[in-house]
């Protein structure tokens, strides 16, 4: 009996900290539209190896992760004086596991989605989008924040 209690106590302690240090989400690369011309819509595909935004997510095999983006609708001009509309289509996000057998999954970054990790415990999420400068858009640098929230189960 005493041995069983010890086992349970150990198991309880172990279960209390399974996510800490194992589950994480990290921003790796900014979504960079680069040079944008007034009046010309500019698109970055989620598959763009340089310009697309990129996150790294790690959890546990066979567990679930719910991912949800908080996406801006406008980028703000650095120093003030303008907003640059930004939008994301239903195919502007791609999740790709790190295992050789993982296939990319295209999804809509505008709605939350839950993944079950069956091939690898970690994966990347790439994000594309488009900006639509007005014909009289103020020149200069614009930026906005993209947040990825992962809920680990």
């Amino acid at each position: 009996m005493r041995r069983c209690v010890c086992f349970l106590v150990f198991a309880l302690v172990t279960a209390a900290r399974p996510l800490a240090g194992q589950s994480q989400v990290t921003g790796l690369r900014d979504l960079d539209f680069g040079a944008v011309i007034r009046g010309v819509q500019t698109t970055v595909a989620p598959t763009d190896p340089i310009r697309s935004g990129r996150f790294y997510v790690r959890h546990q095999l066979n567990r679930q992760v719910r991912v949800a983006f908080t996406l801006p609708t406008r980028l703000s001009r650095v120093g003030g004086g303008g907003n640059l509309p930004i939008s994301f289509s239903t195919t502007d996000a791609v999740a790709q596991g790190t295992a050789a057998t993982s296939s990319p999954v295209t999804f809509n970054p505008n709605t939350a989605i839950t993944f079950t990790l069956v091939t690898s415990a970690d994966f990347y999420i790439n994000l594309g989008g488009r900006v639509s400068p007005a014909a009289n858009q103020a020149t200069g640098d614009y930026s906005g924040t993209v947040t990825l929230t992962c809920t680990f189960f």
């Binding site: 040079a35 011309i37 007034r38 010309v40 020149t139 200069g140």
Partner: protein, 276 residues
């Protein structure tokens, strides 16, 4: 009787629904390179429905004004070492390309300045030439006659290369104004100071005797050496009499990134004007 031969002749661009000499969109409209990075880029965009063949070249030139006060591009017949030319050591990659319809293309600019280049500002012009392809003829009797036209559009933008700590400034003198029809033509002598071109804005305001503005103009200016530009203010409907023309030159340009502008104090002058 002369032989009747209908020729349908179409020139230049723009069949209905098709832009044949579309050119390409070029951004930025002025390139600034710094000696520390020695590189930059221009973005080209083909807004047309057909591919555009594009060629990039460089040459030395700088703005001056003609006798009428218009800005013109001065292109020396030859470039000698005393001229602040960057043309010989600026490369563009790629130099030739075909840009598909509705597609952007980045052209990298790389500077390989000579050893021991002195601090200062060096200039060049970038020529972006876009070939839009042949325009097929339409019209009557095309069975035996056809015309194919090759259409080319060239866009020339300035390139400024900077090394070291540079300053700019502008001196204003001989401000005068002359009525001409419905306009008031202001002329002024501008003398560049410092070690770099003055890139800024000229703003004029015509004030009535009460000090109220009745006409204005503003125009981007680039003064590399000296210039005697003419500026035009609309004065139609203004009552005859005395006015005061106030001219300001500053370096507030919204079309150029703030970190690329060389700042200097605003310069002002004014002159009395009589409208007939």
């Amino acid at each position: 009787m002369p032989r009747q031969l209908a020729l349908a002749v179409l020139l230049l661009a723009g069949l209905a629904g098709r832009s044949a000499a579309q050119g390409v969109v070029v951004a930025p409209h002025a390139v600034y390179l710094d000696h520390r990075t020695r590189s930059g880029a221009i973005t080209l965009y083909n807004p047309g429905a057909d591919p555009a063949e594009v060629t990039i070249s460089t040459f030395y030139g700088y703005p001056v004004t003609d006798s009428a006060g218009h800005f013109m591009l001065q292109v020396p017949d030859s470039v000698d070492p005393s001229m602040p030319s960057a043309t010989g050591w600026i490369d563009a990659f790629p130099r030739k390309m075909t840009i598909p319809p509705l597609t952007r293309q980045t052209v990298r600019l790389l500077a390989r300045p000579p050893q021991g280049l002195l601090d200062g500002e060096y200039w060049s012009r970038i020529s972006i030439s876009a070939l839009g392809g042949a325009v097929p003829v339409t019209g009557a009797d095309t069975g035996r006659i056809a015309i194919g036209l090759t259409l080319e559009v060239r866009t020339i933008i300035p390139l400024i290369y900077r090394k070291g700590a540079l300053t700019t400034g502008i001196a204003v003198s001989n401000l005068r104004a002359t009525p001409r029809g419905d306009s008031l033509i202001a002329r002024v002598h501008l003398e560049r100071r410092g070690t770099a071109a003055f890139v800024g804005m000229a703003r004029g305001t015509l004030l009535n005797t009460a000090g109220g503005p009745v006409a204005t103009f503003q125009q981007p200016v680039a003064v590399y050496y000296d210039a005697d530009p003419a500026f035009e203010l609309p004065v139609r409907g203004l009552a005859p009499g005395s006015y005061r023309l106030r001219l300001e030159l500053d370096t507030d340009r919204t079309d150029i990134a703030p970190e690329l502008l060389l700042r200097t104090a605003t310069v002002r002058d004014s002159v009395e004007v009589v409208l007939p």
